[in-house]
């Protein structure tokens, strides 16, 4: 704790520990059995439909109840090889658990995420991967990006006997599981342990710190590999368009989180006393909550619409609030105050007009701040896709265009995860990777 110096109080220390401590600890064996026995084993279960990777949820829960944890984990991982991290990071309250029939009955769904974690944790602790590869085909596929989409794609390709080479710009694999997701959701280096587990099936190699666009281009990948999958995520961060963005103390929330994740509890980044976070998604929630836990006195999230419009779920909003974060709605930043260091943000109140469009009211207020974290969304940066031959991958509404097979506008090139249209969620990225791998497998056979 070198930044805190000798004067760091006990409170600071425990608080700091809580930045990295697990927010929702795992279920013990007995509570897991009790929870599993609440499941009705629905037929044509709504929860399965609500899971983007369509895990056979009633089946895996029944397998927990019967004491068949290996079978249960296999059921999960067969559809979602990142079932372990999804169990921890999925906003289940808007996915599987929201569809649980127990909601209609008693307002309390089965804790599907916690049970999924119970089964996958057991397997990862006790057993090697339950998968084996088909005989090698000799086909090689390039996967760009070692995030959830790329990993899921590479694993599925490997199962079909193809060899996958993953290229990633960063020194560590995992994508946002390693650099983005809040520390309290993925503790104990889980992202790296999961990557090791996934790779243990064989047939997948990772080339670290190799960037598409600078170290090689799409055209060369197409020449040297039989197919290509792009799981690039979102490299850009939306700008505020509010004058003063370059003041000291103003930064991207995603960078702040990445720095925090990599620093760990021994050398956490310093944080100001008054923090304003602008945005309404997971990133805003995580940045604000972690700022509080790091010791900021006042942390305010300001979002331009109402609570129901935030992409962070109600559960996540409450999580920030119980950690002392104030969330203010219906206001948009007009100006950053200060120079050279930021001293505050001026906001203008907003409202929705009769058609639901956002309009400003002219009423302004200022929140004092020495730190401003921008979390107003990430953007896809198409630059790395540029090819010397002039052929360009079609990008539509800011994301790579794909069809139902996750095929891009170029034959043999597939894409998925955050870099294509859809909800920016880990589980959706996994599904994209899986679907693309199946399509690539058919393409290579054809």
């Amino acid at each position: 704790m070198k930044d805190m110096g000798e004067s760091a109080s006990y409170l600071d220390r425990t608080r700091l520990a809580s930045v990295f401590a697990e927010a929702h600890p795992p279920l013990d064996h007995h509570p897991a059995l009790v929870e599993a026995s609440r499941c009705y084993f629905c037929y044509d279960a709504p929860c399965v439909e609500a899971c983007p990777t369509a895990i056979n949820i009633p089946q895996f829960i029944r397998q927990i109840a019967s004491g068949n944890l290996r079978g249960s984990a296999h059921t999960i991982l067969a559809e979602n090889i990142l079932g372990g991290s999804c169990a921890r990071v999925c906003p289940t309250e808007v996915l599987c658990q929201q569809a649980c029939v127990r909601n209609a009955e008693e307002g309390r769904p089965i804790e599907i995420g916690a049970l999924q974690r119970h089964a996958t944790d057991w397997l990862m602790h006790h057993e090697p991967t339950p998968f084996t590869r088909a005989p090698t085909t000799g086909r090689r596929v390039a996967v760009v990006g070692a995030g959830p989409a790329g990993l899921a794609c590479a694993h599925r390709l490997a199962l079909h006997g193809h060899d996958a080479v993953i290229f990633d710009a960063k020194p560590k694999p995992g994508g946002l599981n390693e650099y983005g997701i809040a520390a309290y959701k993925l503790v104990d280096d889980f992202a790296q342990r999961e990557v090791d587990f996934i790779l243990s099936v064989g047939g997948v190699t990772i080339e670290h710190e190799k960037s598409l666009g600078s170290d090689f281009d799409l055209a060369s990948l197409r020449r040297t590999f039989d197919a290509v999958f792009l799981g690039l995520g979102l490299a850009g961060v939306r700008a505020l368009d509010a004058l003063g963005e370059t003041f000291a103390g103003v930064r991207d929330a995603v960078d702040f989180i990445a720095e925090l994740r990599q620093a760990g509890p021994d050398a956490p980044p310093t944080i100001g006393r008054r923090v304003v976070v602008i945005g309404g998604g997971n990133t805003a929630i995580d940045a604000a909550t972690q700022s509080r836990l790091l010791g900021a006195e006042e942390v305010t999230i300001v979002y331009r619409r109402g609570p129901e419009h935030m992409s962070a779920t109600g559960k996540e909003q409450r999580w920030a609030q119980v950690n002392g974060v104030v969330i203010r709605h219906w206001a948009t930043p007009t100006r950053l105050l200060g120079s050279p260091a930021v001293t505050g943000v001026e906001f203008e109140r907003t409202r929705a007009d009769d058609a639901g469009r956002l309009t400003v009211t002219g009423e302004r207020f200022v929140i004092e701040a020495d730190t401003v974290l921008k979390a107003i969304g990430q953007t896809f940066v198409p630059d790395p896709l540029r090819m010397p031959d002039g052929v360009a991958l079609v990008v539509e509404e800011g994301r790579i265009r794909v069809d139902a097979d996750r095929l891009t506008s170029i034959a043999g090139v597939y894409a998925g995860g955050d870099c294509v249209a859809g909800e920016d969620l880990t589980v959706r990225a996994v599904q994209d990777g899986k679907l693309a791998a199946e399509a690539i497998h058919r393409y290579l056979a054809g």
Partner: protein, 423 residues
């Protein structure tokens, strides 16, 4: 307020709730606590001849169902393992201290007249209210030609009952074993022998489970297991059936109902089928003696609502409606109805009827939302969907107009042996 007092085979108790002969009634300490908790009577843990038997370590097995412990309970214990004079002294003292409560003593000695005569004299001397003959224990004692070894042979039941009636003036209750094909045979034998009442059921022979690591039946004693006696909630349907058969077949013979009783509702069902008192073992072993307070309170409240002033007002009321299958109306028709407002869309009714019944439920989608609907023409009114539905009141069976007058199998044209009305 309803009056719960009963007189059973001449034995009076303040309520019909007795503790069955078993560990809860093993010694004065337990019995005194039971009386304090409110139990109307007890049947003391079965006494035998000295030297006392020896019990094993690891005695109980249990069936856990879907996370619920104690759905069924099993034991390999024998009769009392304490010396006879200790038990007799305690029985005398307890009866003296609590004369208002029923105290019946359970007995099991070898099938020798002198043995029964001897113990009956000693027991009568304690001042207890009656004796119960344990012809039911299905393990350990039966191998020594006692317990269910007697209960399974009607001639022995009659003979021993007869001895007891000759050598004692106490009311004699014969406790029957369910490990038999027709319960009427030993019940009739008890009646012929002069029994004042029967009590049933004792435990069912069982193995509750197998330890798949030790490869031995549970409960495991040093690597081995043996069959035990099954009781608890799981055996209630077996007990109800046997009680009903005796109530219908031997009207007038007092019955003390036993088996899986844990609530006032269970007790009311036994009484409705003819039982005069009920006995409880497993539920007390699960939760302690305190369960009796709600049994008393709940039964009394229910009786008030129904307008029953005493136990006799409703005892046996369901017996007349317990008929043979061939007396059921084959023209009675019901159809399942699914309440869409209550339906939680679990699909369980659909898959049960589709795979294993009559394909009478349609799985529909309206704007992507699931809807399950009964196809009236296919529904045979079997109740399967109703029973698999997890939501109370969501599926009901709606009576339909009958296609003709009441007709039973006895009268049905498809019945080759049908009784044709005399012309």
């Amino acid at each position: 307020m309803a009056d719960l007092a009963t007189t059973f085979a001449g034995i009076r108790s303040s309520n019909p709730f007795w503790l069955a002969s078993a560990p809860p009634t093993d010694k004065a300490y337990n019995v005194v606590r039971a009386f304090e908790a409110g139990w109307g009577g007890v049947v003391w843990k079965t006494l035998g001849e000295d030297p006392p038997i020896v019990n094993t370590c690891s005695r109980y097995g249990a069936v856990r169902y879907k996370g619920s412990p104690f759905a069924g309970f099993n034991n390999i214990e024998l009769i009392t393992d304490r010396p006879l004079d200790v038990n007799l002294a305690e029985i005398r003292q307890v009866k003296r201290d609590r004369p208002d409560r029923a105290l019946v003593v359970s007995l099991m000695v070898p099938c020798v007249e002198q043995s029964w005569k001897q113990i009956l004299t000693q027991v009568e001397d304690t001042g207890c209210d009656g004796v119960e003959l344990n012809f039911g224990c299905p393990h350990g004692m039966s191998e020594r030609n006692m317990g269910s070894a007697v209960g399974q042979v009607p001639e022995y039941v009659e003979m021993v009952t007869n001895w007891c009636k000759q050598h004692s003036r106490l009311p004699v209750i014969v406790k029957l074993t369910p490990n038999i094909t027709n319960i009427l045979a030993p019940a009739e034998a008890a009646k012929r022998g002069g029994a004042d009442a029967v009590s049933l059921i004792n435990t069912l022979q069982s193995i509750t489970g197998v330890d798949l690591d030790l490869m031995a039946p549970e409960p495991v004693v040093d690597g081995k297991g043996t069959h035990g006696g099954y009781c608890g909630p799981a055996v209630k349907p077996v007990a109800l059936h046997m009680v009903a058969d005796i109530a219908r077949g031997l009207p007038g013979l007092p019955i003390s109902g036993i088996g899986g009783i844990g609530t006032w509702r269970d007790a009311a069902e036994f009484i409705a089928l003819g039982a005069g008192t009920v006995q409880v073992c497993s539920a007390a072993m699960h939760y302690g003696f305190r369960i009796v307070s709600d049994m008393i309170d709940g039964l009394s409240n229910w009786m008030d609502v129904k307008g029953y002033r005493g136990i006799e007002d409703f005892r046996g009321r369901a017996t007349a409606n317990y008929v043979h299958w061939s007396d059921l109306n084959l023209n009675w028709k019901t159809i399942a109805r699914i309440d869409p407002g209550l339906c939680i869309r679990c699909g369980l009714c659909y898959i049960a009827c589709e795979d294993t019944s009559h394909q009478a439920i349609a799985a529909l989608r309206e704007d992507g939302r699931r809807r399950y609907e009964v196809i009236d023409a296919e529904c045979v009114g079997c109740n399967l969907c109703l029973h698999v539905c997890p939501v109370d009141g969501c599926i009901t069976m709606e009576p339909q107009p009958m296609s003709g007058p009441k007709i039973t199998w006895n009268e049905h044209p498809n019945n080759p042996l049908r009784q044709v009305a005399a012309e």
